[in-house]
Each structure stands twice: as structure tokens, then as C-alpha cells.
């Protein structure tokens, strides 16, 4: 028999601001967009965040902004839940891509077009040893453990947006099965990095031209965001009733999403629906990416967190659905505590 899983705390940071209250009116907020920096591709840049106050300087020096963003939001979820005294056995599941390359060094190499041995020489002379630690996918989780003393299990899942959903599902399933008491799950995505724009531009998936709402886009618009949820056995601010995920070949994506929706608790009248996918869909729901852009690993946890806030504000239910840019489908249902 599954135990109920509560959402005890939420940490959020994005282009719309810092913290839960800055995000509560997201569906009515004007999007924050930078069209110049990676033109012709608009992005939603991260709001200015008080990293200096939330991350000790000694630790912050070992990170770049991607890890700082995630570490900041994870800490917020812990303090939002008032769970700072329960971190020692807290289980962590992070969805992460890669960290940050030395874009200046990359630019030098691209300009020089060196041969093999010369390239290796430029890398040996130019790479900073500590930057490697700022790049490794699992070092976001490592930084969260070090800064916030989260000392239970630690897992990092890779796989763009579906990794964010699977991270949440894993934490939810473990608590539901009684094998974890407290699970901190989420992700961080920093869009405003050239190597990240490059990754998501592969295959022509990015919208080019002035910002437009999802319905008028020729592709996806990236946005920076981090979202962490602290899940546990207590009632919390809302109940995470269900998380379902699936993946397979692209041809079956719609049918798999339909099956996931059919397996979820039935929709209640007045339910808030949120579409967390990077591309528009005929399916119903508020468009997460209209407000935030596509926030990749963070998108699904962000949508579930916003659903929890809607339930806290009186909605009878929040239903979140997503199809990934390349692979993966996910559904979550949030209900009153």
C-alpha cells in the first residue's frame, strides 16, 4: 500500500525572480526576455540572485552559476519546509545536464583552428583545474550536499527534461514505498551559456526571431530556472498524488502520454492544468514555457511546484503533463494536503 507523499517545501528561481512568492502569479506575469545576447535566439535570463548571501564564498568559488543556481534553490526548498535540522538523512535526486565550459578558451581554439597536438597544448595551458568540478553533472548534487549538509543518498539523473520528471518520480516512489523519509528532488538549468544554446540548437529546435508565445513559435525558447521540491511523509502544503513517466520511440509519444493520463487520478472540476513541454500542443493547460521559456531539466519540477502553489491557493487539483523535446513523457497530479 502506497503512503501519501506531501510537498513540504519549494525552492524556485527563474527569470521571474527568486523564491516562492515571486512565482505565485507566474501565469499572469510578463515574460522577461533577452533577444540580443544569443540572437537570433531569444532566451529568458535568470533574475539577479543573492548567491553571496546563500552560498558561502569558499564554496561559491568552486562553482559557476549553474551550480550556484541549483544550490541556491535547493537550500530554499529546505528552509521553506523548515527542515534544516533534518538534512543528515535527506535523500537527494537531482536532474542535471552539464556544467559550464570555458567559453573564452573555446573561442580562442575555434579562432586558431589548431591541429591535434596544438589543440592539446592549448587545452593543457588554458584549462583551469577547478572548472572541471564546476562542469561535472553530479557535482551540482555534490555542491548541495556540501553547502546544505544533505547527507542521505545522492543521485543525479541525466536526460534533459525527462530526467527532471524521473528524478521527481524516483523521490516520490521511494517515499511512497516507505524506503525514504525525506526526498529533495529537482533540477537547475542555466540557458544563458553558449554551449547550452549549442546543445539545444542541434537539429534546428530553437525558435529564431523576436520572442513569441508558444503558439507562434518556430521552435523552443530556452529559459533559466531551478526548481526543487522537498517531499516527505508529512502533509505539507500539498499532496503529490501521482507521478508517471514513460519513454520509447518518437512515434508512440502521444499514445504513451494518453496512457499516462489515463493511469493518473481522474481530473476534478476546476483542476489547474499545466503543460510543461518545450513545444506547443493541442492539449489543454497553462503554457509553462510561455512564462519561463523551456527550462529543460527544471521544467517538470517547476511545473509541479507551481501546481502545488495553485492547490495551496485553493485549486482542487493541479495536473501537469509534458512531452520532451526529443524523448520522454510525464504526468503528475497535485491535490490538497
Amino acid at each position: 500500500m502506497r503512503r501519501p507523499v506531501g510537498i513540504l517545501g519549494i525552492g524556485l528561481a527563474s527569470s521571474l525572480g527568486d523564491g516562492v512568492e515571486a512565482h505565485r502569479p507566474w501565469a499572469h506575469s510578463a515574460p522577461v526576455v533577452d533577444e540580443a545576447r544569443f540572437a537570433p535566439h531569444p532566451i529568458h535570463p535568470l533574475a539577479k540572485l543573492p548567491f553571496a548571501e546563500t552560498i558561502p564564498r569558499r564554496e561559491s568559488r568552486q562553482m559557476e552559476d549553474w551550480q550556484r543556481l541549483g544550490t541556491h534553490a535547493a537550500g530554499q526548498a529546505i528552509s521553506h519546509a523548515g527542515a534544516a535540522d533534518r538534512v543528515a538523512d535527506m535523500d537527494l535526486v537531482v536532474a542535471a545536464g552539464g556544467g559550464e565550459r570555458d567559453a573564452a578558451l573555446d573561442a580562442q581554439i575555434l579562432a586558431a583552428r589548431p591541429g591535434e597536438a596544438a589543440l592539446h597544448g592549448m587545452l593543457q595551458a588554458g584549462l583551469r583545474p577547478t572548472l572541471f568540478l564546476a562542469q561535472l553533472s553530479n557535482l551540482l548534487a555534490g555542491s548541495i550536499s556540501i553547502v546544505h549538509k544533505v547527507g542521505g543518498s545522492s543521485r543525479t539523473l541525466m536526460g534533459e527534461e525527462i530526467a527532471g520528471a524521473e528524478a521527481l518520480r524516483m523521490a516520490w516512489a521511494r517515499i511512497g514505498a516507505g524506503t525514504s523519509a525525506l526526498g529533495l528532488a529537482g533540477g537547475a538549468f542555466l540557458a544563458e551559456r553558449p554551449e547550452i544554446v549549442l546543445l539545444h540548437a542541434m537539429g534546428g529546435r530553437l525558435h529564431a526571431g523576436p520572442w513569441a508565445p508558444m503558439a507562434g513559435r518556430g521552435g523552443t525558447v530556452l529559459g533559466s530556472a531551478a526548481a526543487f521540491l522537498l517531499l516527505g511523509e508529512d502533509a505539507g502544503i500539498a499532496r503529490l498524488s501521482h507521478v508517471g513517466t514513460d519513454q520509447g520511440g518518437p512515434a508512440g509519444a502521444e499514445a504513451r502520454l494518453d496512457a499516462l493520463l489515463a493511469a493518473a487520478p481522474p481530473a476534478l472540476p476546476g483542476a489547474v492544468e499545466i503543460w510543461a513541454g518545450p513545444f506547443d500542443t493541442p492539449r489543454p493547460g497553462l503554457r509553462l514555457a510561455d512564462a519561463f521559456g523551456h527550462t529543460a531539466e527544471s521544467a517538470f519540477p517547476l511545473a509541479v511546484a507551481l501546481g502545488a502553489l495553485a492547490v495551496q491557493d485553493g485549486a482542487p487539483q493541479a495536473r501537469i503533463a509534458m512531452t520532451g523535446a526529443w524523448r520522454g513523457e510525464a504526468v503528475a497530479v497535485v491535490e490538497p494536503a
Binding site: 552539464g98 591535434e116 589543440l119 587545452l123 593543457q124 584549462l127 568540478l133 550536499s145 542541434m202
Partner: protein, 408 residues
């Protein structure tokens, strides 16, 4: 008493060869798979050797990417394990796999012909093939689709503990009743120039360029760093009921797993070793056993000064004055990073089957302060339970307990 998880298939690829039996024979013979790197130019590099698994598709100046090689190695190990298990695609459960983070590499970047990032970003728009190779979820998605596994492939990176994390996640999924069978695997091919240079800059690698086969020398006085390695390991795991219900041959058991995150430092263990001790304790407890039940430890044993000292200390703390034999098969196959946990669990199962311990080779100057029997040569050993340790860069520590299949 936790539910037992049966192992019904084992697959291995390392620098010692293709296939579990070929690897096991080479390990029993104490062979080294470490050799000079030939698939890229190593002139001027501080470390010029590794435990390489080269492929026919590697061309001079244009080796396969990390993503492509880890996919090939992972598919080979899984195909072997699956064939042994008697199961076939579509596989009736999910894939849990430890993989390295990947990205577009210099040969592909330079081949775009662009002089800067905006140029590259424009050039990749017409290249969906790059998305299918370099997205973080791509390698596992291709593997999952080849074997027809169910659900989202769980692609885990806990650095050098990834393979063990994959086994642990598989065990949890079976125990939760989500599935009766899981492919648990790890595949690694991070050996490309930039990664090699990055590890060199962290002073993590051995620089014994004059004698590569002697470079991985865990638990010795002259150990000077780890040796990068390619490889993959795969296990087919099933609930006991699922395996017995279809009459599968049970090769051994995954009895338990435990993990603990270190909150101390990105690259160093808590000085008292408490996090790695906790991972081992939790694994033993999860198996419903006591430390005295462990008959052999396959060490993380990376051959770095720091790891081997901390791991030896942790073993003495857990097992007391008479720890069981502790060997590091990384002395022969190098450090396969994301795959190490899966490969070394497979090695433990083969050792349990044959009642033979694999050696720690190159142990000609043992560090006397460590106080361990590190098995300098392969030898017969009566034991029922083995512990496999994996301690990740970034503080993620996982131990797995493996059990011997009872003779029928």
C-alpha cells in the same frame, strides 16, 4: 530480511577483452589491460596511457566520441548478459545505467567550420544527428530502444559510483514491485583528450609513462594516481519469483546496497572516513547481514594516494583487526569510472561462482600502513558473500553486497 534479487545474466567489456569469461580468465591470470593510447596524439601530454577499448570505427585523428563509444560498449555488455539470461528484446523491465556526461567534442566542433559560438550554433541547426549523439539522454535512449526496455531509462551519474547506483536503483525498482526484471549496467568511454587533460590538471592520474602496465598499483607505496579506462558491465536482475517462474539459471544474488553522501569536500572523503564506512554499513545491513559475513571486498581501490588510504582505514573500521581479503581489479582494467560499479559487481559474482579471488596486481611494494591482505595473486577462497565498493568524485558513495548461487 530483504527480498533477494537474482542475477541471471552477466556481460563485460574491458581492455582485457570482450565477454565475461574472457575477462575473468585474464583477471585470474593477473594480466594488465593498460597500454599506450594510440587513438589520439599524446605528444606532450603528462599521461600517455590508459586501459583502452579501441574499435574498428576509430580512425587516426577521428576517434569515436565518448557518447558513441559508451553506447557501443554498453550495448555489447547488455547483449551478452541478455543472451545468457535467456531473455530477449523487448525486455520486460526498465534500464538503469551509469553513463558519463557527454558533450560535443573538438573533432565535431572543428568540423562545423565555424570560427565562434554563434557560427557553431547556426551550423548545428541542420544536424539532428548531433542531437541524437550528444544529448545527455541520447546514449541511454538508443540502448533502451535497441533492447526494448520499458519506461524511462534511468541514466545515473554519481561519478565513479554510477555503476553501483544503477544496480541499487534496479534493486529498489524490483523491491517496490514496479517490475520483475531490470537491466542494470554501466558504460564508460570518457577517454578523450580534453577529459584526460582535465584529470591530469587535477593531478588525479598516474604518470608512469615508462611502464603503463605497472601504473595501476592500488595499495602500494608508489601508487601515484588512477588509470583512465574504457569498459562496460551489465547484469540482468530479476526478483527471485520472476527468475524461478521462468526456470532461469540463477548465477548469484544482489543481496543489498547502501549509499551515503559525503558533505565534506568535492574530491576528498571526510577525514574520519565516516561517509564511506556508512555506505558499507548500510549495504551490509540492507542485505540483512553482519560485517563478519563478508568474505571478500572488491575495493574501489583506484591507486590514488588518498582513496586507498581512506578505503583501507574504512575497511579496518568496519571489519576490525582481521578484515577479509580486499583486492582491486582496477590494477588490471584501470578505472572505468561510470562503469566501475557494474563491472566490479560482475567480477564479484564470477569470483563467488568459482570460489577464486581476483588479484591486485603490481603489489610489489605494499603500503604496510594499510594493513590489508590485498591478494597479490589469484587464489582459491571459500566465501559466500562479497562487498563491492564504489566511491564517487563529488562525494557519492555506494556499496553493493553480492551473494553466491547455492549449488543445486
Amino acid at each position: 530480511m530483504s527480498q533477494r534479487i537474482a542475477v541471471t545474466g552477466i556481460g563485460l567489456v574491458t581492455a582485457l577483452g570482450w565477454g565475461a569469461e574472457a575477462n575473468w580468465a585474464a583477471m585470474r591470470a593477473g594480466r594488465s589491460g593498460v597500454r599506450p593510447i594510440t587513438r589520439f596524439d599524446t605528444e606532450g601530454l603528462k599521461t600517455r596511457f590508459a586501459a583502452c577499448v579501441d574499435l574498428p570505427e576509430d580512425r587516426p585523428g577521428a576517434p569515436l566520441s565518448v557518447a558513441a563509444r559508451s553506447r557501443r560498449l554498453g550495448e555489447a555488455a547488455i547483449a551478452e548478459a541478455l543472451a545468457q539470461s535467456g531473455l530477449a528484446a523487448p525486455f520486460p523491465g526498465p534500464l538503469c545505467i551509469g553513463l558519463p556526461p557527454v558533450e560535443i567534442e573538438w573533432p565535431q566542433r572543428l568540423a562545423l567550420g565555424a570560427a565562434d559560438y554563434p557560427g557553431m550554433i547556426a551550423a548545428v541547426a541542420s544536424r539532428p544527428d548531433l542531437a541524437g549523439e550528444f544529448h545527455f539522454g541520447a546514449t541511454a535512449a538508443h540502448i533502451a530502444e535497441r533492447f526494448g526496455t520499458r519506461g524511462v531509462p534511468q541514466v545515473v551519474t554519481t561519478a565513479c559510483a554510477s555503476g553501483s547506483s544503477a544496480i541499487q536503483m534496479a534493486v529498489e525498482a524490483i523491491r517496490r514491485g514496479e517490475c520483475g526484471a531490470v537491466i542494470a549496467a554501466g558504460a564508460e568511454a570518457s577517454l578523450q583528450p580534453e577529459t584526460l587533460i582535465r584529470f591530469s590538471l587535477l593531478q588525479a592520474l598516474s604518470t608512469r609513462n615508462d611502464a603503463p602496465e605497472a601504473a595501476s598499483r592500488p595499495f602500494t607505496l608508489s601508487r601515484d594516481g588512477f588509470v583512465m579506462a574504457d569498459g562496460a558491465g551489465a547484469l540482468i536482475l530479476e526478483s527471485e519469483d520472476h527468475a524461478r517462474g521462468r526456470g532461469a539459471a540463477i548465477l548469484g544474488w544482489v543481496l543489498g546496497a547502501g549509499e551515503a553522501a559525503d558533505t565534506f569536500h568535492r574530491t576528498r572523503s571526510t577525514p574520519d572516513g565516516s561517509a564511506i564506512i556508512r555506505a558499507m554499513e548500510r549495504a551490509v545491513a540492507d542485505a540483512g547481514l553482519a560485517p563478519g559475513d563478508i568474505g571478500y571486498v572488491n575495493a574501489h581501490g583506484t591507486s590514488t594516494p588518498e582513496n586507498d588510504r581512506m578505503e583501507a582505514m574504512a575497511c579496518r573500521a568496519l571489519f576490525g583487526e582481521a578484515p577479509p581479503p580486499v583486492s582491486s581489479t582496477k590494477s588490471m582494467i584501470g578505472h572505468t569510472l561510470s562503469a566501475a560499479g557494474a563491472i566490479e559487481a560482475a567480477v564479484c559474482l564470477l569470483a563467488l561462482r568459482d570460489q577464486v579471488l581476483p588479484p591486485t596486481i603490481n603489489g610489489d611494494d605494499p603500503d604496510p600502513e594499510l594493513g590489508l591482505d590485498t591478494v597479490p595473486a589469484s587464489r582459491p577462497h571459500r566465501f559466500r558473500v562479497a562487498l563491492s565498493n564504489s566511491f564517487g568524485f563529488g562525494g557519492q558513495n555506494v556499496s553493493v553486497v553480492l551473494g553466491r548461487a547455492e549449488p543445486d
